[in-house]
Subunit: 407 residues, 2 copies
């Protein structure tokens, strides 16, 4: 069960912003507050009062699953009732389609009264401009004008307060419960790495290797330590065009040739908790330059993690990695970030590990480091990426896996 | 190449709302205007003036791909430049991370001047609360307060006008170019159906069948009629719990048993164009009741399409299907919508085919119909879903595929 730690943190921030209640509609923030992974984005909300217990609202068919992580105030509404739906105010066209009717509005009106927040200052997710992919294959939801109007109507208020900054800040540092969930998804991701190593062979196409990685995670990840919703999103690239691997190119039907570099960039989600990892291998034998660069990339990742102590900045951790990459003297480029926060999304907004970043690292933050080389000299690009939790001894990897760079 | 048909349509709507320029940041609306599928959501914009040519802004590394569909005004900016990034105003934390710097802002300021829109009424995507999943595996973007502030700053205006209604309305009716793209993605989806029929066998788990479907579409879909970005999202369910199949349950590690009903719900995307389809089969031999229900479901789908003539309402098409389902006399439920629009997303907001819907159907709209039975009598649920384009002779399926219901 999720503790009320996250609710108390948000309430503390709400106190600073003089917010009377906060309405959360993004699935990632509902995971944060309640541990529950909303099945259909938009069909589920959390409402947090200034003091006291938060409420989770879910469709009646999701009650049992919600009880798996949340033992607080749980209220249900009827959804998917086109057959004889009472027509009413819905949050969105999706809710119109699924016949949600007036159930959600009625709950919000009740909560506004119970929380003494009618006519008050109501917090909302005003500045989330990246949103986590959905639980079920479908559209994630976003918070736009209709949600703002619904809050205005149900809370009888004209004052909405953006609480994005508070949410993003508290999300960066993970709780023990969340670290355990993140360890699980990172262990599931190793299934994908093993499949990658097995399938990154001459004769396979990039898209076939991508499918093998995603399938392995799906097939073996479901049920792993009780995981109920698992999905991987992999991108596989290969060959000399990996020299442009920093510009996020797409998996192709290209056939891997003997001695090609092959890279997998992989997002994995388990029950709302995300990982972001990368591996590069040679489909055959590496050159001496490639071996040296691979060692440097691994050293750079270790250096970033070693520098990631509480009180250090994202810029310091970035520099630790970047210095090693540059000191090799290769003619390659390393134009992207060294790392970023991860957990409630594939990419969280803080801390950023980029040159000059003044984001201050704190114990319990989960970061990735992803140093790389991209150069013609290496006949491609090499990147390695893992996640680690910041401790006073530096950031400690959530999982470790030794990986043969070449055959 | 995309014609300027969509730009002209939006300009006409902008005229009615007295909007001087519109800034589009959602990938699905950039596909609509330019045919270009933005690689990293948020790293790319389209700006449409009240009159004249629209401009597409993409990272420099995406210029060549953008030229594949858009021969209009194309401007590039530098992205992924952490190494020596000029720090500046970015739209979002993602852009901070990727070192986009001031390039986007500068372009927007230029366009505000060139379009004579400085200080004017600027259109934005204020009410999109469902967003299409991303091109690359990552977070879709949303339009929140930061984007609104960026528009205010760069267009030196205090007046933002929500143009969501106009965009959603024009999107519902597809152009010839878009119909061709939609036919392609629906053909690619058939690869998944074939894999489903092959793998929906006793002994396989739901998640294994899901992986087989998604892999087949990925592996064979890339390159099909030139498709560059292909992904499928399948949900597979089986057995008696399909009697609750209407409540969107999740693929599980459950093993399919002999004579189980097995259902796949499948979203497929190719280069920004989406399909939404469903099939149900029996992993063995069906009962007479199941056969009769399957026939009724197919008849109901045909009836919805036959009723979908220009001038009819979504409610009429829904009723045509629902009447057939009910007339069978089975004790099942059919609580969800009969259908909805599809194309720029897996679910578009209009037209909705639900009871009482007054959405008026028009020639060129693309709709899905997905009638179903869910009942213990049938030992599960049966749903079938295809897409069709509205014509004066009724809606004509984009693809057809005969499918054996049982072995």
């Amino acid at each position: 069960m999720v503790t009320d730690e996250r609710v108390r943190q948000l309430q503390s921030a709400m106190g600073e912003q003089d917010v009377d209640a906060t309405v959360l509609l993004l699935t990632e923030n509902i995971v944060l507050m309640t541990g529950h992974y909303i099945r259909i984005p938009g069909l589920g909300l959390a409402v947090v009062p200034r003091e006291g217990e938060a409420a989770l609202l879910v469709p009646d068919f999701d009650e049992e699953r919600a009880r798996g992580s949340w033992d607080g105030d749980l209220r249900t509404f009827t959804a998917v009732v086109a057959d004889d739906a009472p027509k009413g105010t819905a949050l969105s066209s999706l809710q119109d389609l699924l016949g949600v009717g007036p159930g959600v509005s009625a709950h919000l009106r009740d909560l506004a009264s119970e929380f003494g927040a009618r006519g008050g200052r109501i917090g909302f997710e005003g500045s989330f401009e990246q949103v986590a992919p959905a639980c079920l294959p479908g559209e994630p939801n976003a918070v736009g004008l209709p949600t703002q109007q619904l809050i205005r109507d149900t809370f009888a208020t004209g004052t909405l307060v953006d609480v994005t900054e508070a949410l993003e800040t508290m999300r960066a540092v993970k709780t023990e419960y969340e670290l355990e969930k993140l360890r699980t998804v990172h262990e599931i991701a190793l299934i994908g790495f093993a499949a990658f190593k097995e399938h990154a062979r001459p004769g396979r196409t990039e898209v076939e290797i991508r499918s093998a990685v995603e399938s392995a995670i799906c097939n073996e990840g479901h049920g792993y330590k009780g995981a109920k919703v698992v999905r991987a999103f992999a991108t596989v690239n290969s060959g000399v065009e990996l020299r442009n691997g920093w510009n996020y190119f797409l998996s192709r039907p290209r056939v891997v040739e003997k001695n090609d570099l092959v890279m997998v960039e992989m997002a994995t989600v388990a029950d709302g908790y995300w990982s972001d990892q990368t591996r590069t291998v040679v489909a055959g034998r590496a050159t001496d330059d490639q071996r040296a660069a691979y060692r440097a990339v691994r050293e750079a990742m270790d250096a970033a993690f070693a520098a990631a102590v509480p009180g250090a900045t994202g810029g310091t951790a970035d520099a630790a990695a970047r210095t090693i990459i540059r000191s090799t003297g290769y003619d390659g480029v390393y134009p992207h970030q060294t790392g970023h926060g991860v957990g409630f999304r594939y990419h969280e907004t803080r801390p950023n590990l980029v040159p000059g970043s003044e984001d201050v690292l704190e114990t319990g933050m989960v970061i990735v480091a992803e140093p790389a080389f991209y150069t013609t000299t290496l006949a491609g690009g090499i990147r390695q990426e893992d996640a680690a939790v910041v401790t006073s001894q530096g950031a400690r990897p959530l999982t470790s896996m030794e990986f043969d760079f070449e055959d």
